[in-house]
């Protein structure tokens, strides 16, 4: 139960549009669901995270939606900006275990 599937692999969005990235996991013991953002030449940085006691969390233009029964969570970026162009990783986990997805490269064009 280690597998994490992230989709899509790449995403091209027009400025002002909505970007949606999905993450499916298998391990029902996971209780921490973060998204990391990585710019070229930099290390990943925590963008937003959710615990399973809520179904949605919003921070500015970024929202996590969590579906426990489907074992999926997604990242929504509203009003996408060129500065959002980066690679995004989901990394669901529990104590002493964190499994990174394979990443989604987002490109936002003006």
């Amino acid at each position: 139960q280690q597998q994490v599937k992230q989709s899509p692999q790449s995403l091209i969005v027009q400025k002002g549009g909505i970007s949606i990235i999905n993450c499916a996991y298998e391990n029902t013991a996971f209780d921490y669901f973060p998204w990391y953002q990585q710019f070229p030449g930099k290390g990943p940085a925590l963008l937003i995270a959710i615990r399973p006691d809520v179904s949605e969390k919003k921070e500015g233009r970024f929202t996590i939606s969590f579906n426990k029964s489907a074992k999926q969570f997604s990242l929504h970026i509203m009003d996408s900006q060129p500065g959002d162009s980066a690679t995004y990783f989901c990394a669901p986990g529990s104590t002493d275990k964190l499994i990174f997805g394979t990443g989604t490269r987002l490109q936002v064009f003006p």
Partner: protein
């Protein structure tokens, strides 16, 4: 304001050579990690430490070694470098155990083995 600092940023090694990637953090975090990132593969955990003097293997430890003599430093040793170790290496630290809270990453060390 330094956070997690890694050196060197770039290194080219010949097959069979050895080297150490340095990592230091100034946030007084007990938990430190080494990950490798390969294209299209996400991040894989190599080794981690829950405090000074305590280390444990992650998902892909073969060919690597670590030590943790202080809270601040967590060097990664590559013995007998192989082309399969060509990758970008990231050191990270956290206040709480991985899988429970935020990881703080360094900017990475890009290693090429020829």
């Amino acid at each position: 304001n330094a956070g997690v600092t890694q050196t060197p940023k770039f290194r080219i090694l010949k097959i069979g050579q050895s080297m150490t990637l340095q990592c230091t953090q100034d946030m007084n975090h007990n938990y430190m990690y080494w990950y490798r990132q390969d294209p299209g593969m996400g991040l894989k955990l190599i080794y981690y430490s829950v405090g000074a003097g305590i280390t444990d293997k992650g998902e892909v430890p073969n060919g690597y070694n670590v030590s943790r003599s202080t809270t601040e430093d967590f060097p990664l040793r590559l013995e007998l470098a192989a082309p399969s170790q060509t990758s970008v290496y990231f050191c990270a630290s956290s206040y709480s155990r991985q899988g429970t809270g935020e990881l703080f990453f360094g900017e990475g060390s890009r290693l090429t083995v020829l």
